[in-house]
């Protein structure tokens, strides 16, 4: 059972760091940005490239990758989304898929189809009957620190409260002298940089491959939906709930539970939990109706 907790924490950390960016974007620009997943992929690959520079330590490579991906996110906003501020949310959502398709294909052209792994030494730590690695601990620690910093930034700084004002009522915020467009750029930078770090953590734990976007797509959007789409820390909670449910379901021996032979749900089916959680949340939250207003 302790093992389930460890595994859930590690997985939730990676998903949460990526998911908060989707929630940030939704809270301010009111659309589900599917291109966000690609920022995570780009970040992972950029870290890989920067890490190959001789003499550059890995943390510096991660930081460089975060800054670069943040700038790419701003570039995407300047080129595409800033010109489409007034179209319907559905339209923006469809455009974000176009952007995603483009970024994904360009990454695949540059880096090729094969998988790449980071060479990170890590030791196993045994607690009772559960095992985690030092890398796992690092991933959780990084995610926790990032979430704490984001919380402090949004709630304790002037710029942070500007962002929150923009999220709660953009027109009023701009009327009151908050520089809307500049803060939107900042929001893009933040979500891009966070996605890059999340993608890098994911690549540390697994490996880099062009279709890693499909692997995290459903978990990330399920986590954000569970948290209520526009709630940044709801997304973190959503990631924790989702991850725990997934790992618990895979851990439980259903065969033995019903008195039969040992049978567990194959791990490939963990994405079913993501979609199932999404469906359950949507069934239980009828207030999300368009007729009820936003």
């Amino acid at each position: 059972m302790l093992q389930v907790l460890f595994n859930s924490l590690v997985y939730a950390s990676m998903i949460a760091v990526i998911a908060v960016g989707v929630a940030l974007c939704y809270s301010i620009l009111r659309f589900a940005n599917f291109a966000h997943i690609q920022f995570a992929v780009v970040g992972g690959y950029l870290t890989y490239s920067f890490a190959a520079i001789p003499g550059l330590p890995l943390p510096a490579a991660v930081a460089l990758s975060a800054v670069a991906t943040g700038l790419i996110a701003i570039l995407v906003d300047i080129l595409v989304f800033s010109r489409l501020r007034d179209i319907t949310p559905e339209g923006k959502m469809i455009v974000s898929w176009g952007v995603a398709l483009f970024i994904r294909s360009v990454v695949a052209i540059i880096y090729g189809g094969g998988g790449r792994a980071f060479d990170i030494s890590s030791e196993a730590v045994i607690v009772g009957d559960a095992v985690f690695t030092t890398l796992d601990a690092l991933v959780v620690a990084v995610a926790a620190v990032l979430m704490l910093l984001l919380h402090l930034f949004l709630n304790r700084t002037r710029i942070g409260s500007g962002l929150r004002a923009l999220a709660s009522n953009a027109d009023l915020a701009v009327t009151r002298g908050i520089p809307g467009e500049r803060l939107i750029r900042l929001m893009w930078f933040l979500s891009g940089a966070l996605a890059a770090i999340g993608g890098t953590l994911l690549a540390f734990e697994t490996r880099l491959q062009p279709n890693m976007d499909l692997i995290i797509l459903l978990p990330v959007f399920a986590a954000v939906t569970i948290g209520g789409l526009s709630n940044v820390f709801g997304a973190v909670l959503g990631a924790l709930i989702l991850s725990f449910a997934q790992n618990l379901l895979i851990y439980v021996d259903f065969g033995a539970l019903f008195g039969g032979d040992s049978w567990q749900i194959p791990t490939q089916f963990r994405d079913y939990v993501a979609v199932l959680a999404l469906v359950v949340v949507l069934l239980l939250r009828p207030r999300l109706s368009p007729l009820a207003g936003r």
């Binding site: 469809i94 483009f102 695949a108 499909l214 999404l278 999300l288 368009p290 936003r294």
Partner: protein
């Protein structure tokens, strides 16, 4: 060369059916279906399973349509009364679940997929594809020019207005989904018999966005636009093979370059010509003049 032209036309016709199906959902009604590949895949797999069981093709077609309609109702259950963001997420999730199931269930062939008996004669395949496209066109045409279709457009423009007219948006959306998903499933059945096999890699999110690219390129809300868009996208797809043989590009770079181009087209259309190549004619009626 003639065989190749026949093959191109057949494929364009099949993708047009998919595009017309998406057009009824998005172009007419405003439903954002990010899992358009799901009914398509259901139809294709139904055809394959029926063929594996030794049943004739009409059995596979019937199975495909029934399953697609049943699944559309299942998907609608959580999506009803939700804003389009959630609708998109639910359909996207359902489509991915289908792909994962096909990939992991041994009875569905896993990653290798299943083989399906092909059309013996490519002319017959072309005829069937064109017939299906004509049928799909006719259905969409009838819908968009009926009172039902006009109400769908009201629903697309303003759901609250439709509700104040005493119409129940949910029941309209349900009818539209059933028709559109059955249409896409029929396209899937045909596709399986044309290509000769089905595998999970043919039904990914990417396929959904190829249909979206065709729809946005051609012009949402316009049947002719959809067919033009599907033809343009598929011709681009096949012609890129020739380009590759001229300038000697590796196959995977080519495949990804093509997808990058589709993504770019989708974005550029939104930026510079959101009404598409063949725009929908918006009907303006003056109530006073009658």
């Amino acid at each position: 060369m003639l065989d190749f032209a026949i093959y191109c036309l057949t494929i364009i016709a099949v993708w047009s059916v998919l595009g017309l199906s998406l057009n009824i959902q998005f172009g007419l009604t405003g439903l954002v279906n990010f899992g358009q590949v799901l009914p398509f895949g259901l139809g294709a797999y139904a055809a394959a399973l029926a063929a594996q069981a030794g049943l004739p093709w009409p059995a596979g077609a019937a199975l495909g349509l029934v399953v697609a309609v049943a699944v559309s109702l299942m998907v609608l259950l959580p999506a009803r009364r939700l804003s389009q963001d959630y609708w998109a997420l639910i359909t996207l999730g359902a489509g991915e679940l289908f792909r994962l199931t096909a990939l992991n269930a041994p009875s569905l062939g896993g990653a290798d997929g299943l083989t399906v008996p092909r059309f013996a004669d490519p002319h017959l395949a072309l005829g069937a594809a064109l017939a299906l496209m004509a049928a799909a066109w006719l259905v969409s045409h009838r819908i968009s020019h009926s009172p039902f279709g006009r109400l769908l457009k009201v629903l697309r423009e303003d759901e609250v207005l439709a509700a104040t007219l005493g119409r129940n948006p949910v029941s309209y959306q349900r009818t539209v989904s059933i028709i559109a998903w059955a249409m896409a499933a029929a396209g899937g059945v045909l596709y399986a018999h044309i290509v000769g096999y089905v595998s999970p890699s043919s039904f990914t999110v990417t396929e959904t966005f190829i249909v979206w690219t065709a729809l946005i390129l051609g012009g949402p809300g316009n049947n002719l636009g959809v067919v033009v868009g599907a033809a343009a996208v598929q011709l681009l797809s096949v012609s890129s093979r020739f380009v590759a043989s001229w300038i000697d590009l590796p196959a995977d770079v080519l495949a990804n370059g093509r997808l990058a181009l589709f993504g770019l087209v989708l974005v550029l259309m939104f930026l510079f010509r959101p009404q598409g190549l063949v725009p929908e004619k918006k009907e303006v009626r003056d109530a006073q003049r009658r």
